[in-house]
Homo-oligomer: 428 residues x 4
Amino acid sequence: MTDQPIATAALVQQEAASLAVSLAPVYQDLHANPELSFAEHRTAALVADRITGLGYGVATGIGGTGVVGVLENGEGPTVLLRADMDGLPVLEETGLDYASVARGVDPEGNDVPVMHACGHDVHVTCLLGAAELLAARRDTWSGTLVVLFQPAEEAGGGAQAMVDDDLYARVPKPDIVFGQHVGPLPAGVVGTHAGPSFAATDAYRVTFHGRGGHGSRPQSTIDPIVMAASAVVRLQSIVSREVAGTDTAVLTVGTMHAGTKNNIIPDTAQIGVNIRSYEPHVRDRVVGSMERIIRAEAAASGAEREPAIEHTEAFPVLVNDPAATGAVTAVFADAFGANRVVDPGLVTGSEDVGMLATAADAPIVYWILGGADPQAFAAAYASGRMEQDLPGNHSSKFAPLIHPTLDTGIAALSLAALSRLSGTAATA
Amino acid sequence: MTDQPIATAALVQQEAASLAVSLAPVYQDLHANPELSFAEHRTAALVADRITGLGYGVATGIGGTGVVGVLENGEGPTVLLRADMDGLPVLEETGLDYASVARGVDPEGNDVPVMHACGHDVHVTCLLGAAELLAARRDTWSGTLVVLFQPAEEAGGGAQAMVDDDLYARVPKPDIVFGQHVGPLPAGVVGTHAGPSFAATDAYRVTFHGRGGHGSRPQSTIDPIVMAASAVVRLQSIVSREVAGTDTAVLTVGTMHAGTKNNIIPDTAQIGVNIRSYEPHVRDRVVGSMERIIRAEAAASGAEREPAIEHTEAFPVLVNDPAATGAVTAVFADAFGANRVVDPGLVTGSEDVGMLATAADAPIVYWILGGADPQAFAAAYASGRMEQDLPGNHSSKFAPLIHPTLDTGIAALSLAALSRLSGTAATA
Amino acid sequence: MTDQPIATAALVQQEAASLAVSLAPVYQDLHANPELSFAEHRTAALVADRITGLGYGVATGIGGTGVVGVLENGEGPTVLLRADMDGLPVLEETGLDYASVARGVDPEGNDVPVMHACGHDVHVTCLLGAAELLAARRDTWSGTLVVLFQPAEEAGGGAQAMVDDDLYARVPKPDIVFGQHVGPLPAGVVGTHAGPSFAATDAYRVTFHGRGGHGSRPQSTIDPIVMAASAVVRLQSIVSREVAGTDTAVLTVGTMHAGTKNNIIPDTAQIGVNIRSYEPHVRDRVVGSMERIIRAEAAASGAEREPAIEHTEAFPVLVNDPAATGAVTAVFADAFGANRVVDPGLVTGSEDVGMLATAADAPIVYWILGGADPQAFAAAYASGRMEQDLPGNHSSKFAPLIHPTLDTGIAALSLAALSRLSGTAATA
Amino acid sequence: MTDQPIATAALVQQEAASLAVSLAPVYQDLHANPELSFAEHRTAALVADRITGLGYGVATGIGGTGVVGVLENGEGPTVLLRADMDGLPVLEETGLDYASVARGVDPEGNDVPVMHACGHDVHVTCLLGAAELLAARRDTWSGTLVVLFQPAEEAGGGAQAMVDDDLYARVPKPDIVFGQHVGPLPAGVVGTHAGPSFAATDAYRVTFHGRGGHGSRPQSTIDPIVMAASAVVRLQSIVSREVAGTDTAVLTVGTMHAGTKNNIIPDTAQIGVNIRSYEPHVRDRVVGSMERIIRAEAAASGAEREPAIEHTEAFPVLVNDPAATGAVTAVFADAFGANRVVDPGLVTGSEDVGMLATAADAPIVYWILGGADPQAFAAAYASGRMEQDLPGNHSSKFAPLIHPTLDTGIAALSLAALSRLSGTAATA
């Protein structure tokens, strides 16, 4: 290691901290104005406006609401930094000054509350910060920088939509993709893990068909609520009985909707199922067993019509490139100190960012950015109730600490980009 | 029996048949324009307009949207005929020309489809017919006729709301109350039963409190969907294990709602429970066991907060006065022939019409008006699949035959009223 | 009514009371030595010995362990009085001095405790008493008296086994059959009900086939315990959802057995199902739904082999002859007083005694004999917890009061018999 | 590596193969005569007799039926080789010529079938072989060899019982403990894993208290079968909802027993629960949730008495000493070739052998000995149905291949022992 990169790392962190302060109001504004998947119009306009002002060439409307900025800065590799922009249909209960009261329309046409319950507002803000930092310091590197703001990560269609919308015919194809996700590590800490890191997701919408009628005469009906409830209960036995203790799978029923009035047995009931896995044989068994159980529980109720099972979402496993991950981990350890860089192991969450790398045949490194209040984290850890006491992603109380989360996130993106780009500058 | 009433009965039926024809378009219009409980504005305006035109003194807005017409016609008893006006949040699937495509807003503020899935449009039309018939033939009777159009029978609050809104300070207190409900008997047939006839209803809104989070990390949440589904399944054991086979109780979970997205475990899940019973000791045990099971299933999930159990509806048992029922049954048998008058036994449905009688300290006779296509009825009966094959009340395919249902219903109301009123006329 | 029968009734009751005292030790001996179905060897020997001593012609070993005594006493009708002899595999917990500590071998070959938990010891003792009373007073009647001690009522095969073993080729065919069952009425009271009275029973042995393996590797097994438990839970929805509230059916899973060790997942699980009903359409639906649910729950587990469903027991509905029941009820009311004769309504228990009448094409009257401590009964009734507080038939704490239960039971059998036989004597 | 140990390894394998042939009849005899935990009298007598004949000093009856042989052979370390002796209550279905038809009495006093369904007969035979090989070649090593035959591994009490019975006051305390378990690897292969390797086990006997009664009157009972079945179903949600996908826990209900007759609702139901885990925080949560769910399901049924939860078994995690495991792995790879030595990862099975090491404060190395037909293994692997197609430990079809399983197992024990002992001889 020469002195120069060390100096760079310290300087980058200093500038990142400064940007974190200036961008905090932007973060709070984004947080207060979340938008659902593919409806990130205000967010997209905001980021397009800002990165245009920074001198990036900007393409908008890619894959719906996607925005990409390109900064060509001489010879060298192309580095893509990615943030996702969408919020979730969650009613915010953080009590923050800048809490969201926004509403949106979900895919079924319902009016729902919206919240940045997964921290994509942090991702956007950090990428705006890194875009500004790297543009300001373009004298220290050479190559092409692509900053990509993706729609609809939550539903899993955003990255694919951008790729399908000729992304890499419209912006340079990257040599490497970097990104980050805020999560339940202490703010100031980053987590890197080589190899399979984020789970594959498969989501299903299941409609059980019963036969409605008066609530007082169930014998003349086929009750779809008892049918669906029995299926939800029975689905628990897949993970408990059909997946080896040493394998990993999660099956969650996240929605259940049936009926309009307590004295009417409805015709149908609908559930939304989400499955996480890392290995094809585990995925196949869980999906197959889900289908088997759903059909059998409908049969147990005497359903006259098979339940409809629609495959609504599919994310692949995200595999961090081992070599590139090792390199980034070393950069982070040098910059932040080894005690601020951890290996979080497998994450059961899913991410579609890998599609942006796969479509470019490029490696990816995607890390966890700590967002938790270190004291709350330490207290939860000490109590042995980490998962009960610390509101996690998708919780209505999820509230990342602004500092040093933004500071670290801006620095991490900048340092990762520079690790690829500044070498060229150095040799230039 | 003298000749005169027989002649009257034949004449009444003939006039009722004629009115059934002239009112069929009114029925179809009502069917195509159903309104939810306490929102029967169009219906109330329509009936107020028509009975005003018939010469009734009309009071509107009683208990919200209730309408009452009074025809004072000399000395004699006061007879109250009642119809209920509200539709249900059901998406009509009858395929009728005059099927409803109406929408409404339910008590939770959701936009929902609306259908006359319980035949209150038949009740309103028949009462309009009887009001017209009895007004036209006021020379044959003496006394006071009250025709009452009630809101919100489905939710159980309409009769009480009218009583609480000083009903009997505004219109004469009846000496007897008559009414009818269209149901799964062949059209042309009426069903009378003395004593306890319609079940008591108790309805509950139950909110299970879990703790939300990311669908991939259930260990950091308390899953309210598994909690609620387990409760729904476990509630089945009340009727199967805690009610004697020879006692009667029905417990239906008619609604179940939780979650907005398959990868978010929500904070809460809500179910709507409806309980029917005829005897206090059975009701008390079922309600007690429901509360016990709901609390225990929340405890099984490790809920940190007790589920909320709100008592949203309560109907008493409807008890037909034995003497008055015997008299009406005899009138019907004389008029329609004994083979068109049956005893349907206990009905597990509920009715709040009894409150109108109780508040007046008057007896009540409330009968079933057949609405089923006799051939479909006979086929379903012969196949032993009556309850599976004949779409019943509250079904999205509930479609009473217009004739002779209206004919019989208009005649039945008129004959019952005349049985009390014409005696006085005869003696006058 | 003439004086004579009144005198007779009073005398009969006086003698019955005397016999109840002398037979109390026999009752206690029977209670302390219960035997399982078709294994009533000691009981059969005891009754054969006693009725031989009374002058009856005795046939033994009919249908296994059945014993019949015949007393021919001139011209006149043949009256059959019946008692059943078998105990149950229940561990007695009454704390009585004469409590059973007996053991037996059940049909599966297991060593089990045995108890007279259904009061067949009362039935045997009362019939011994009536046999003695009627033999002693043979001067007051004319005809043929048959006293029949049946094996295996509990399993439902005893009456059929006797009929199949040429019962009516070996003893005179009766003109009427009388019998009684001790139950939860106050001692001293009898209950008669005309028409369908005791439910039909169908029993099933269900074997679920999974695939065993190590408890730590469920993924390599098909867990039959989760399969069977899910089926037991799901079966509750038959009565709760598929039987009208106003119809009667009971489905009980009375046994569940699987596995030998907590760390071995077994290959199979077995449950015993018992179904009660009064009407064929209800029975057929419940049985059909049971089979459907059992197959579906096996399918939900991915079972590679269909569950085996064996129909192990079938009792028909017991229908008391209306005319004969009316006559017996009048006799009892005259003798005991009207307040000691009640109508218990439908009983969900089953009885195979009806087969003895059906095979002879004779009417039957079968009544309930009160056995409960009147004070305990009254307290339970007053508390509204009758069914919780009063240990019923098949309970390990079932303990009929010796007096006046035996007194009333001996008198009732004798009076019923005399009501048919003494008329002939009177005219002789 | 010098030539000498290589020559030794080849020679040891040659002699082990020869012993595998001569001991095959002993293996088949043991397999045909399995004995339950703590009842291994015949087995213990057989091994005591054989090792006495080999010149070992023999102690019997340690911890019940435990047998230990000691061969003191000069200066040097003490090495303990261990085999467990007990069979399982499984009905053998292998179809082998030497299949077991043995019966035993389980801890509840039931007569049950017995089978060596976990391969302890392999363990005993291999240890007899190694004992013979090492005694015959005592010129090549120096030190003390302890061969220990343990009772009751299945129930988890055997190792503790031997330790508690002053094991190490009666035989030399070892410097290292070796042992092996036959399992689902191809015969000829061994599997070693450093660190935590076999799961902790906690087993519970749970008695649900209901209130019995007649099957036709459930309303007067508290049905313990519905209670227990509901608990079994609900327990599935612990692993599915409360354990992170990336953590490991298995909860199996291996036994369920209730009732004696389908028409009697029993007083109680009993289940046997087995829990596997590797980490204290996971274990604590699973155990806590199990207790919570069992209590809540009893409460849901309205139980008047808390269920009894007895902790019947507790095995700690088995942790293979990393350094010693590395050394043994190298010895195996040298002797068998690297392709016959694999790392099987975590095993969810449990083992109490670790207690023998812990009590001596010695390291342990415990490996998996392949027993599967390599062709069947390969076919199962290729089909992706390994766990479904290959009968595993505790299955009624578990049938290790005799050769080369015994050959490899005798060689592995001998080589591991010699790796510690022969060094001393070499230096002698």
